[in-house]
């Protein structure tokens, strides 16, 4: 009598079982379903109970308030806004202000951070000590104090608007901020922008072509004259044909303040300076750790090939270090974005200040507004980390890891 070997269950069943139930198989799956059900029930109870209690205490709830008129003004708005707009508009104004300060902060923090890291690794004793002092002082003081320091110190140092520091009658620096000429678009603006776009695109294509030629055929092509022509020549020619793209409106002192021109408010400057110098201290340490994690033989190999120290760092060490740097760097970017909510302390109208602050106290709808605000920070953070993940994945791929 022959025994037929029992057929193994199809692979996909096992895979599903493992994915859902882990090591414990179907029992594990049952536990997971039960857990999810309990979680859903608890969430439902909390929401339903909070709603019922809000109703019995006659506290306003729901999101209807977003359509109501805000009735207050905001000092910096990137989109047009007046007091007669709705709370939704206030939300957008605050969100854009948060994005602005985070974006600028991240750029500066990265630049300063990398520079400080290179200082600390410099063979020059003085430079490396200076880098060390910077890091130890800045990262060990509370951010809120640094923020207030920059704000009040900078304000105290600057003169009033009538005694502004004047550059060419176009730039004015005072404790009301930096007033600069405002660009006003003319007929020539659109063709000019198109020309610049073509220039940038063309230069990128050229660079790609040159790189391929170098890597595949070992042929070095000099592209900079063409790039220069594309980036400067093309826009200049369009300008000659279509006329000037921009004229500038000069600021003038009228009454208490300047009218005309654009203005960078001191709150924005103080916030960007505080956030970027503070975060830079952490980034510097991350970058230093990343560079030190690359074996020093790589550096020596670079110099034995005849590369300069800078070239070795740029071409050999940095690409390998980035693999280590990117994940903690993402953390710092997220921290910077979240720390920007300290803005309320110095009167910068960010999301927390105008929405979770003024709007909340005017409407009293704490639960809804805090939920929206938390949601926004969560989404911003997830987007940042998604972008950084893609970047990290590309680095790993290019290193063949």
């Amino acid at each position: 009598m022959t025994t037929e070997p029992r057929k193994p269950p199809p692979q996909y069943v096992l895979r599903v079982k493992r994915a859902l139930g882990g090591q414990a198989g179907w029992t594990g799956l049952a536990v997971q379903i039960l857990f999810a059900a309990v979680l859903a029930w608890v969430t439902y109870e909390i929401v339903a109970n909070a709603r019922a209690n809000l109703e019995t205490q006659r506290i306003a709830s729901g999101f209807g308030f977003l359509k109501n008129t805000a009735g207050f003004d905001v000092s910096q708005n990137l989109i047009s806004y007046t007091g007669s707009d709705t709370y939704t508009r206030v939300f957008l104004v605050g969100l854009l202000n948060t994005l602005l300060v985070s974006g600028i902060g991240i750029v500066f923090a990265t630049i300063i951070g990398f520079s400080i890291a290179l200082c600390r690794l410099s063979p020059n004793w003085l430079v490396s000590r200076l880098g060390e002092i910077y890091v130890e002082i800045v990262r060990n003081l509370p951010l809120l104090f640094q923020l207030l320091f920059w704000y009040l110190a900078v304000l105290a140092a600057l003169p009033g608007p009538r005694q502004s520091i004047n550059l060419f009658n176009a730039f004015f620096l005072s404790n009301r901020g930096l007033v600069i000429p405002r660009p006003i678009g003319q007929v020539g603006l659109d063709p000019f922008l198109v020309a610049v776009a073509i220039g940038i695109l063309g230069s990128l294509l050229l660079r790609g072509y040159a790189r391929r030629a170098l890597f595949q055929r070992g042929q070095a092509i000099r592209i900079w004259p063409y790039v220069l022509g594309l980036l400067i020549g093309l826009p200049t020619v369009t300008m000659l044909i279509f006329g000037v793209p921009l004229t500038f409106e000069l600021p003038q002192l009228k009454g208490f303040n300047f009218s005309g021109g654009s203005r960078v408010i001191p709150e924005l400057v103080a916030l960007v300076v505080a956030l970027s110098t503070y975060t830079a201290a952490f980034i510097a340490e991350i970058v230093r750790a990343g560079i030190l994690s690359v074996h020093k033989g790589q550096m020596e190999a670079g110099s034995s090939l005849g590369l300069s120290r800078g070239d070795t760092l740029r071409l050999i060490v940095m690409p390998q270090a980035m693999r280590v740097i990117v994940p903690p760097l993402t953390n710092q970017y997220l921290n910077l974005t979240k720390n920007s909510s300290l803005a309320v302390a110095i009167g910068y109208p960010d999301l927390v200040s105008v929405f979770a602050g003024t709007t909340l106290s005017q409407t009293g709808q704490a639960i809804e507004i805090i939920a929206i605000t938390m949601g926004v920070y969560l989404v911003l953070s997830l987007i940042t980390s998604a972008v950084m993940s893609v970047y990290g994945w590309r680095i790993n791929r290019s290193l063949g890891a």
């Binding site: 506290i59 003004d73 905001v74 106290s361 409407t363």
Partner: protein, 338 residues
């Protein structure tokens, strides 16, 4: 700074989930042996800690009066300093029993916050303070000025209304706390500091050179300031309301902190009713018969409270004005104790 509202809201969500809506606040307070009172963090004359760490001010005395009525001991109060934007959440969540924090009585606050105003402790109005050196004599000359204001207040909206209504441009810079606002004003970031007039006088004392600053004559809004309690507990609402009424009635009847013991022996029918030698009005409130005497002994009548904290007997030197009794040219008026 940013963690406070979050924590409060989470506390609110949690508390709202467990707490029954018809809370018996008086019982909670008696069981705890302590009244929890929300005040502002440092506004001279209204609520600020003195150099020995004792809280003083009108808003503070309102709470001491309530504590005296319940415990016969005005010190049984825990003061919770709150920023303007956190105050309502603290009340809604049950963290405090009464909010006595120079809060303006408005329709939307009365209806949408799940809380009620119990009365008016101080009739105020919004004004402007500028440096004398600017040589401004009227708020109508403030076109294009930069204005510092505390966020989360009715002030922000009044300001927008006023400048819009008068076709003037301005720049608003809003700060989380009164101290930060004043610091920015002092450093020259703003030309104008705006707030309730009583606050302007109070904050002016904190400036390096109070005499260099002037409060402009325009009053641009009505700001009746008063204590708030949660919806759904009428007994507690009555108690907080009548503590203030008792003080106003006391001033009207000439009962003061000094003569309260003599007056208690009086034969006058209105005094007998108030002191509980005739009838049981105090017990009807859920308090004791001698509730009236307890309050006046602890914090004095309304006039004494006013003078001591913001009036002639204080550094602020604010005139009684609207806050004078109704029969002396003001509008402070309380229903009779009977």
């Amino acid at each position: 700074m940013k963690r406070v509202p979050l924590a409060l809201t989470l506390a609110a969500a949690a508390a709202l989930s467990v707490q029954a809506a018809s809370a018996q606040t008086l019982k909670t307070v008696t069981d705890r042996g302590m009244l929890s009172c929300g005040v502002s963090a440092g506004l001279p004359g209204f609520s600020s800690p003195d150099d020995k760490g004792n809280w003083t001010g009108i808003d503070v005395d309102v709470c001491r009066g309530i504590a005296a009525a319940i415990f016969d001991d005005p010190t049984k109060v825990k003061f919770v300093p709150l920023s303007a934007k956190d105050r309502f959440t603290a009340l809604q969540s049950g963290e405090i029993d009464v909010l006595s924090r120079n809060t303006t009585w408005t329709l939307s606050r009365d209806t949408s916050l799940g809380a009620n105003f119990t009365g008016v402790t101080y009739y105020d109005g919004q004004g402007f303070m500028v440096k004398k050196s600017l040589k401004v004599n009227s708020a109508l000359e403030l076109n294009s000025a930069s204005v510092c204001v505390q966020t989360g207040t009715t002030t922000e909206q009044n300001l927008a209304d006023y400048f819009k209504g008068n076709n003037m441009k301005y720049e608003v810079i809003a700060f989380a706390s009164a101290d930060e606002t004043v610091k920015a004003y002092e450093s020259g970031r703003c030309d104008v500091f705006t707030s309730d007039v009583s606050q302007l006088y109070a904050m002016r004392l904190k400036l390096a050179n109070p005499a260099d600053h002037v409060v402009l004559p325009e009053i641009i809004s009505k700001e009746p300031l008063g204590p708030m309690v949660r919806h759904g507990d009428d007994q507690w609402f009555d108690i907080v309301k009548w503590v203030l009424f008792a003080q106003i009635n006391a001033e009207e009847m000439g009962v003061t902190q000094k003569n309260v013991d003599e007056m208690a022996k009086s034969d006058k029918p209105d005094l007998k009713r108030a002191f509980g030698t005739d009838g049981n009005l105090g017990e009807q409130l859920g308090l004791t018969k001698d509730w009236f005497a307890r309050i006046i002994k602890a914090v004095g009548n309304y006039g004494e409270m006013f003078d001591r904290n913001v009036g002639a007997g204080s550094k602020l030197q604010i005139a009684r004005g609207l806050n004078q009794l109704w029969n002396k040219g003001g509008i402070q008026y309380a229903p009779p104790i009977r």
